[in-house]
């Protein structure tokens, strides 16, 4: 059951005809008929097949790599090691896309040369007539390693005698926030509570493993068709190969899921090198096992909260430390740490605040972008602390949260004033109501309710000066074309643009064609990351469509002899608002305007609000364009004999600003409910001294159909966001509180809290038994 609420204080919108409705997405037919072509599906004449030799150890010197035998195998066309690469042998792993400034310029070797720093680090590339031959060639490559001492813990990595993995002290990034006076704040508190929470590695587990085909065309342009969230990697590929940017053409067809795992470059540069070397098309599809080591999983975080509260529930001070394990290379760790830092206090106002956050390098898998991007881990810890605080002072946990929620006009952790609506309270109230009564315990089963709120940014860090472009044009037959190089990674990115352009120009979305995923043919739109795709590309499309509309109205106003403001477009007609009988079909309008030489196309750019960064001493400044607020609530059943947790009900209530496609919003909430449940309960990469032990779908357990609880989506619309029609970003926000709500529900059920995730049956049973022993002793 799903509900919608547009509360009385919502800004009324013009009568929306398509936006906000439940529309079948226009990418659905090709997908359900089996016609959608993904990167690995492309078949080309004369194509070679590639395989990658990944390191099977986490920390070793490479004494030698012998590829001589592999090279002689008939049918093998290219065998590349670091020695064959441009001397720099480096590829950018920093914030991808069009960024105006402020990046960290992090790089990573394309292929390991003298040293491997993590399990899975690529060492050699092979292209051959078949995968089988390529594999045989890989098997013939002899790498002589000498294991060296590594470091596998983010705290150990910061000790003075730790082996150095990164820079000269293993510190990849650090931030601090100093605000108010925490000494004073703690003095004012009636209670002070300190707890440490930690969370695990999570794998994106998109269903389509990394795949791409690369070829050099007749114009000597290097083409790459890849499963990526970011077509603008073409620049990084070109830089890595020493080519001009305009000679590398990267396009993304439909992408079989990303969740952040296809944000930083994965396999594109390897294929580029092979295609250039072999001068034949080359395809690479990673196996699932290799996919686990081809992109960075979620950062494990250890977060300590020391919080002061008064007896009536006001937070007076917070001292928070956050530590994340960056793994062997920086990738996006600095940014993820920043998100976690901003998110550390959740959606609560804390005026006396002290935060120290550190990301340390280890010889573990390099960690990287993943839905929630640090905020999710911070939320999980913060919401556990909120629950524990309310328990301590004996206040209902929602009541306690209410006393501390940030309101519009309040500063958040970094002192950014929140300008959009903050409907944390409405969302939390509705989410909790939807749970209903808690079932009664039975012989082996206890039940619990859990709630979690959040503050999650949408849009990229402001000093990156993010932009997005889109082109909208009205064809002579009244159909519309949108050209926008957004990548469609499954959330309906492409379809939403059709809906937006259709809304503005009165054309049903079925009659709109969107060209996407190809930045050399379409205007660059930036990345499908950071819950920015709809916000930014949607805004650019809205602006472009409005330009076209204005041009058309100018011409049509003359025709109807009214002012342009008196016209409207809808149901494939232009009409006079006060007298809808006076109308013309969009098709005839297109012809009429064309005959008058009206400009029926427009290219627009949307620029996110910029800022100039944080004060390094106080951590104060404007980091993000805006934030989404909401809540998730869950009911769980816990088996007291085994510790098994069953999620019975899962409710997401979010102020999405304005839903563009209701069905797509629900889809995000439902998908998040399961992904967050996996994080809370079953998903965990197991690393032993950096070596991945469970890199397959039979050992790494994402939720199945049988794990699905009843899911309810409650969509609130404040229409106060920066996106098209007042929308806010939702892809990450609706995910961030899920795990926290389940973890809180388990704590409620068993009467004690487990501080390290995931809550495997084993940990839950241990906690239950410890609690029993404690009770018996008392």
């Amino acid at each position: 059951m799903n509900q919608v609420d547009t509360s009385p204080n919502a800004i009324p919108n013009v009568n929306l005809r398509q936006v906000g409705k439940n529309k079948p997405r226009n990418d659905s037919p090709t997908k359900v008929y089996g016609k959608a072509i993904y990167a690995g599906d492309l078949i080309m004449d004369d194509m070679l097949f590639a395989k990658v030799l990944h390191s099977d150890r986490a920390c070793a010197d490479i004494k030698s790599i012998d590829v001589s035998v592999a090279k002689t195998l008939p049918g093998v066309h290219s065998v590349l090691t670091a020695d064959d690469l441009p001397a720099t042998n480096a590829v950018m792993t920093d914030m991808p896309g069009q960024v105006g400034g402020g990046t960290k310029n992090t790089k990573q070797p394309i292929l390991a040369k003298e040293r491997v720093r993590f399990y899975g680090e690529p060492i050699a590339l092979v292209a051959a007539e078949s995968y089988e031959l390529a594999q045989r060639a890989l098997d013939l490559i002899v790498v002589d390693y000498e294991d060296t001492e590594g470091v596998y813990d983010a705290f150990d990595a910061q000790k003075p005698d730790a082996p150095i993995v990164y820079g000269n002290d293993n510190i990849v990034a650090a931030y601090k926030v100093r605000k108010g006076d925490i000494e004073k704040g703690f003095q004012e508190a009636d209670f002070v509570l300190e707890n440490t929470y930690s969370s695990q590695y999570q794998e994106q587990a998109f269903l389509e493993p990394e795949a791409a085909v690369a070829w050099v065309d007749e114009h000597d342009i290097l083409n790459i068709r890849s499963s990526t969230q970011v077509v603008e990697h073409f620049r990084a590929v070109a830089d890595a190969l020493g080519m001009p940017h305009n000679k590398v053409h990267l396009q993304a067809p439909y992408v079989g899921g990303g969740f952040g795992g296809k944000e930083v470059m994965t396999i594109e540069v390897w294929l580029a090198l092979l295609a250039m070397d072999a001068q034949r098309p080359v395809k690479l599809k990673q196996t699932r096992e290799n996919s686990f080591i081809s992109h960075g999983p979620r950062h494990p975080f250890t977060i300590t909260h020391k919080t002061g509260v008064t007896k009536d529930g006001k937070i007076t001070a917070a001292k928070i430390t956050l530590t994340s394990d960056a793994g062997a290379y920086a990738k996006l760790s600095p940014y993820i740490l920043l998100y976690a830092t901003v998110g550390a206090t959740g959606p609560y106002r804390v005026d006396n605040l002290w935060i120290d956050s550190t990301s340390a390098a280890t010889n573990n898998l390099p960690t990287c972008a993943y839905r929630g991007f640090g905020t999710m881990q911070a939320t999980t810890a913060c919401e556990a602390q909120m629950e524990e605080l309310s328990k301590l002072i004996g206040l209902d946990s929602l009541e306690f949260r209410r006393k501390n929620f940030i309101q519009t006009g309040d500063p958040n952790a970094t002192g950014q004033i929140i300008r959009s609506a903050v409907w944390s309270d409405q969302c939390a109230t509705k989410a909790r109501e939807a749970l209903g009564d808690k079932p009664k315990s039975t012989e082996h089963t206890v039940y619990g309710h859990g709630l979690a709120c959040y503050q999650q940014s949408y849009g990229r860090i402001r000093w990156m000066k993010d932009t997005s472009e889109s082109w909208v044009g009205l064809e002579m037959d009244g159909t519309l074309i949108v050209r926008c190089a957004v990548t469609d990674i499954g959330a309906g990115q492409m379809s939403a643009l059709a809906q937006i352009a259709g809304e503005v120009l009165g054309v049903p979305m079925e009659e709109i064609t969107v060209y996407f995923g190809d930045g050399h043919v379409n205007p660059l739109a930036g990345t499908s990351t950071a819950s920015r795709a709809l916000y930014m590309t949607g805004k650019a499309t809205e602006l472009a469509a409005k330009n076209v509309r204005n041009n058309l109205f100018e011409c049509m106003a003359e025709y109807f002899d009214v002012r342009p403001e008196e016209l409207d477009l809808g149901d494939s007609k232009v009409f006079v608002q006060d007298n809808p009988e006076r109308c013309m079909s969009v098709k005839d309008m297109a012809k009429h305007c064309a005959a008058q030489g009206v400009h029926r196309h427009s290219l627009e750019i949307y620029r996110a609000p910029p800022s100039e960064g944080l004060d390094p001493e106080t951590g104060q400044g404007e980091v993000f364009p805006d934030f989404t607020y909401g809540a998730h609530a869950a009911t769980v059943a816990v088996d007291t004999d085994t510790g098994e947790v069953t999620v019975i009900k899962s409710v997401g209530a979010h102020d999405v600003g304005q839903s563009i496609n209701r069905q797509a919003v629900e889809g995000q909430i439902e998908g998040s409910a399961l992904m967050g449940q996996g994080f809370a309960l079953s998903e965990e990469l197991i690393l032993e001294k950096g070596v991945l032990k469970n890199g397959s779908f039979s050992e790494y357990l994402i939720p199945t159909s049988e794990d699905v609880p009843e899911i309810e989506s409650i969509i609130l619309e404040s229409r106060s966001g920066l996106g098209p029609f007042g929308s806010k970003g939702i892809g990450e926000p609706v995910f961030s509180p899920v795990a926290a709500s389940i973890v809180n529900a388990v704590a409620d059920a068993i009467g004690t809290r487990i501080h390290h995730l995931p809550l495997t049956p084993e940990k839950v049973l241990t906690a239950i038994n410890e609690e029993k022993t404690k009770e018996a002793a008392e």
Binding site: Y131, T642, S682, L701, P703, S705, E706, P761, E762, L765
Partner: protein, 285 residues
């Protein structure tokens, strides 16, 4: 990508047995164990003898007082058989939560029994049914209790020229309870952490027959004979059940792996045996 191998595809049982007698080649049934293991390098083999065309192996037979499963019957075949709910309730329960639909359609009962995996889900229910296995080779057949089939981790009494032809048992008497519990880290399609089956038959207020089998908690799936001995012929009080469950747990030799620790397996072997015994006793008496 699978490693290269040769495959023969006999059409009849005698052909298959003849191929096996040649001494090269291992049986291949549904391949749901073999293929993942070959691909992952956990299993080697360059010659296989496919049993999937041997129609004589794929059947389910209910006669007067005996149920026989041809080794080629799939897990789905078991679920589709309407009489199986009575003939082997716990086997149906185990089949119901076995893998996903596609794997259930390919996976054979023979493969599940012969793979010797401690987490094979059909085996605890078959053990508590007191099932017999019939092994066939070119030189003849032999039948033995399934309870004597397993020697050690992935080791069975089967000789290289033998294959499992069928599994048979006498259905539990009406009113008896036959239960299975699969403990795993998620609800659907997961490898078992602890798998317990219990059969209890009551008569005149006493426990007439009781069998207990435990999976995933030792190198092989095994029957807890000692615990069974403590219960047979008696009224199953809570105390007695607790003692038996303790005894069963005492027989476990679990290992720690990515799914769970040895201690957790012990704890749950204990608590689940207790739970199933209680439930079965209540149901049967």
């Amino acid at each position: 990508m699978l490693p290269r191998f040769e495959l023969s595809q006999p059409q009849t049982l005698p052909e298959a047995l003849k191929a096996l007698a040649g001494g090269v080649g291992q049986p291949l049934a549904g391949g749901t164990n073999l293929f993942p293991d070959l691909r992952g390098g956990r299993e080697k083999g360059d010659t296989f003898i496919s049993l999937s065309q041997v129609g004589e192996l794929r059947y389910i037979e209910h006669t007067d007082n005996r149920v026989t499963l041809g080794s080629g019957a799939t897990i789905s075949d078991i679920l589709r058989d309407p009489q199986m709910k009575i003939a082997a309730p716990a086997l149906v329960a185990a089949s119901d939560i076995f893998a996903g639909a596609m794997v259930r359609n390919a996976a054979t009962i023979g493969g599940n029994v012969c793979c010797g995996s401690p987490s094979a889900d059909s085996v605890p229910p078959l053990l508590t049914l007191g099932a017999d296995v019939t092994l066939a080779s070119a030189s003849g057949e032999r039948t033995l209790p399934l309870d004597e089939f397993y020697l050690d981790y992935k080791k069975t009494v089967m000789k290289p020229d033998e294959l499992l032809a069928s599994i048979s048992w006498t259905p539990p008497t009406p009113g008896s309870a036959h239960l299975f519990y699969k403990l795993s880290r998620r609800k659907g399609d997961a490898i078992t952490i602890t798998g317990i089956s219990v059969l209890v038959e009551a008569e005149g207020g006493k426990c007439k027959t009781v069998r207990i089998a435990l999976g995933s908690v030792a190198p092989t799936i095994f029957r807890a004979h000692e615990a069974e001995g403590m219960l047979a012929g008696r009224v199953l009080t809570s105390e007695l059940i607790e003692e038996a469950a303790q005894s069963a747990a005492g027989q476990c030799k679990p290992i720690s792996d990515n799914r769970a620790s040895a201690e957790y397996r012990l704890l749950t072997a204990h608590s689940l045996t207790r739970r199933l015994l209680r439930q079965a006793w209540k149901q049967a008496s």
